[in-house]
């Protein structure tokens, strides 16, 4: 293998690039912004691994079982096995490249307890695990940049893939510095562009994760999977700029959820689920908050000031800074928000898509989390998937012939120029906002045939408008050309949600509240001549 392009430079993209470069492959690592700006830096809680020095009773098979169970048995067993079995090696690798893990008395990575896990097995770096991992990976990538094996291309936004007869030969990128679209040819393309936050507007994550890449690839024939499974985090605060996560630690330390009814506090989680009710899994708490239909608060004010100081300093600072609330005195107004996407690009066990030489890794790919993700498993999956893809790619042959795609770049530039010729004051961001409002309504915590069909109608309308929309010259060209891809992805997600007429994990249908054996398979969606075709992967096509 001679060269590869990795698109996206968060944790999964960097790991892929590093491992490929170590195998002698020349990598172009393309992203609009440096790795320090990726969503990966926001991960706080930790990364799971059952190490040889595990907690009494814990085992790799227990981690596998917890992951499969958390995902409501929708994730592939083989893939999850691979993920959990490689976890110890991954922590050792990360430590070896200098990640500053929090350590125990023996100086080894310490572990904390995280919801959904039967044992304490989450390694962490204070309250900034993702950032600490990114910092070390950036240094590793820098080493290989200096060695001439990785070339970082900043200011490059994905436009489309160069695909011919089911094989990928490279990608088109919009270059912010030059203001035009150009082609990059290669042996293999790896997509590592993160989640689909833009579908829902304000989320807990980064504004850079817009799902455009998945949407555009879908239109180019790449299959997507499990798009209906969107994880909501139950306790987030609303600020003028985004929704911010109030760590689960607040409930772990005894925090109580309540709403007011006739001047009285109703501790609804405890009433329904008993004294440990506040600590129920994320999807259940989110649904209960939503169903309460009232403003919900999280109270930790009864804790001793010294406990808040020592155990919840981040929560205290966050609330003080962004909503002016002193958590030692007042309850925190909370509501659920979109937090993570279990669904994404469908990949085989080696992380290749249904298009040859086109791979997907990290949160943009759907593989390990089934219908719901356990905390600490996505950082693990981001690293693991990068390693798996790199191993597979490094063993492949260099492409002998490369078709000429120069007309594709010309055509893309011509389309962009044509757009630019029709100036408009109608901002694309308004359509994105309206679409996200639709998605929150129709594909929120509780869905129904009716809400989903309304959503489909709205998104179809926005899609028809998007095609006629004139160019909005007040934002980067990327925001203009990405609109259709983002809306198409939204439409595909609605189709998946419509087809799954049951409730499972993060997907809850009020008209089909039970889990049904008939649907015990992943949802796969493809796009053919403008049609959205959904099937259930009962043959486990994507498990191999």
């Amino acid at each position: 293998m001679r060269d590869a392009i990795v698109i996206g430079s968060g944790i999964s993209g960097m790991v892929t690039a590093i491992k490929l470069a170590e195998a002698g492959v020349h990598v172009l690592l393309a992203s609009p912004f440096p790795s320090e700006r990726s969503q990966s830096v926001m991960a706080a809680g930790g990364i799971n691994a059952v190490m040889s020095r595990h907690e009494e009773g814990d085992s790799v098979s227990a981690h596998i079982e917890d992951t499969l169970k958390g995902g409501c048995y929708l994730a592939g067993e083989e893939a999850v096995k691979g993920l959990c079995e490689s976890a110890e090696e991954i922590i050792e690798y990360l430590e070896g490249i200098g990640v500053v893990f929090s350590v125990d008395e023996a100086g080894r990575p310490a572990r904390r307890a995280v919801g959904g896990h039967s044992y304490r097995r989450t390694c962490y770096c204070g309250s900034s695990t993702g950032k600490q991992i990114v910092s070390a990976l950036v240094m590793e990538a820098r080493r290989l940049e200096a060695a001439g094996l990785i070339k970082r291309a900043l200011g490059k936004c994905f436009h489309s893939a160069l695909i011919k007869d089911g094989v990928c030969y490279g990608a088109l990128f919009f270059d912010e510095a030059f203001g035009n679209i150009s082609a990059e040819y290669t042996d293999v393309v790896v997509v590592a562009t993160g989640g689909q936050n833009a579908l829902f507007g304000k989320t807990t994550g980064s504004t850079q994760c817009d799902g455009y890449t998945a949407g555009e690839l879908f239109m180019q024939g790449v299959e997507l999977k499990n798009l209906e499974f969107v994880q909501f985090h139950p306790t987030t605060i609303e600020t003028s700029q985004k929704r911010m996560l109030v760590s689960e630690a607040a409930r772990g330390e005894g925090g109580r959820l309540f709403y007011m009814d006739n001047g009285e506090r109703v501790y609804f989680m405890e009433e329904k689920y008993g004294p440990k009710g506040n600590l129920m899994p994320r999807d259940i708490v989110s649904r209960e908050i939503y169903s309460a239909g009232k403003d919900v608060f999280l109270d930790v004010s009864f804790l001793k000031d010294s406990d808040i100081e020592s155990r919840l300093p981040e929560v205290r600072d966050l609330c003080k800074k962004y909503i002016g609330i002193d958590i030692a005195k007042e309850p925190i107004p909370v509501a659920p928000s979109v937090h993570f996407f279990m669904g994404g690009i469908a990949v085989h066990k080696n992380h290749e898509t249904n298009i040859r030489d086109l791979f997907a890794v990290g949160e943009c790919a759907s593989m390990y989390h089934g219908a719901n993700r356990l905390g600490g498993n996505s950082l693990l999956a981001a690293v693991h998937s990068g390693m798996i893809a790199a191993r597979e790619i490094a063993g492949r042959d260099t492409k002998e012939d490369r078709p000429d795609f120069s007309s594709a770049a010309e055509e893309a530039n011509r389309m962009l120029d044509k757009m630019k010729d029709t100036k408009s004051v109608f901002p694309v961001m308004y359509i994105r906002d309206m679409a996200s409002e639709t998605m929150n309504k129709s594909m929120g915590i509780i869905r129904s045939e009716e809400s989903i069909n309304e959503g489909i109608k709205d998104i179809d309308y926005y899609l028809s408008v998007a095609e006629r929309l004139s160019y909005d010259n007040s934002v980067l060209p990327y925001f203009n050309y990405s609109l259709t891809g983002i809306l198409t992805l939204a439409r595909a997600a609605l189709s998946c949600a419509e087809s799954r007429k049951e409730s499972r994990g993060a997907h809850y249908r009020s008209d089909h509240p039970d889990t049904l054996d008939d649907y015990a398979a992943a949802t796969v969606i493809s796009y053919e001549n403008g049609q959205y075709k959904v099937r259930f992967d009962k043959e486990n096509e994507y498990e191999s």
Partner: protein
Amino acid sequence: MKVRILRQQTPFSEPYWEVFDADVSGDTSVAGLLNYLNYHDDIVDENGRQTTRIGWECSCLQGMCGSCAMVINDVPRLACDTFVRDLGNEISIRPLQKFPVIHDLLTDRSSIYENLKKQNVYIEKYQPDTIKNRKKAEKEHQHQYDAAKCLKCGLCLEVCPNYVNGQSFFGAVFANDCYLVSSRNSEKKAEIKKLYGEHFGSTCSKSLSCMDVCPMNIPTIASMAKLNK
């Protein structure tokens, strides 16, 4: 309130000030304020004249990624982490001046990465001083953790009296990465100390303004003490 913003359409065009009226609550951050100006309605200046939307960069919107570094009321800060309540009734916003402007408040900070790459500032392999006693080697743990939190935002360079883009003094951001490498890999200590001296230690006039503006509160002075030893 009045919001003055220094604008520039392209890297090569002339900058100009534009003034906007805004009505937002004190808990709004400058990031929220920019969003308000851009999208609450058609964007118009204080005289009601239609203008273009303001270009700026963001990602995490909660002070964790360094994207939104700019100069607010003459202080280099993160827009998403600076609040209207602390800014008075007249707010001025301009791009970082030490880096080339791409568009409005967006700047090209690639020199930060280039400097680190050219000088081979990377850990390569975690090798604590005393492998036998990792616990002891971890006594610098908190300092290493703090240094690894650097956002590469460039605020420390904006405020530094000695930093000039493209020259050989690389600023606090460089010093802290040097500290991290030397403390995590004892074999590289000597080499890194030399680089640190050339590109930081010998020129730093210790105004330490870099520490005042660092959004991560990185103790640069402690990094310097370790590397000067």
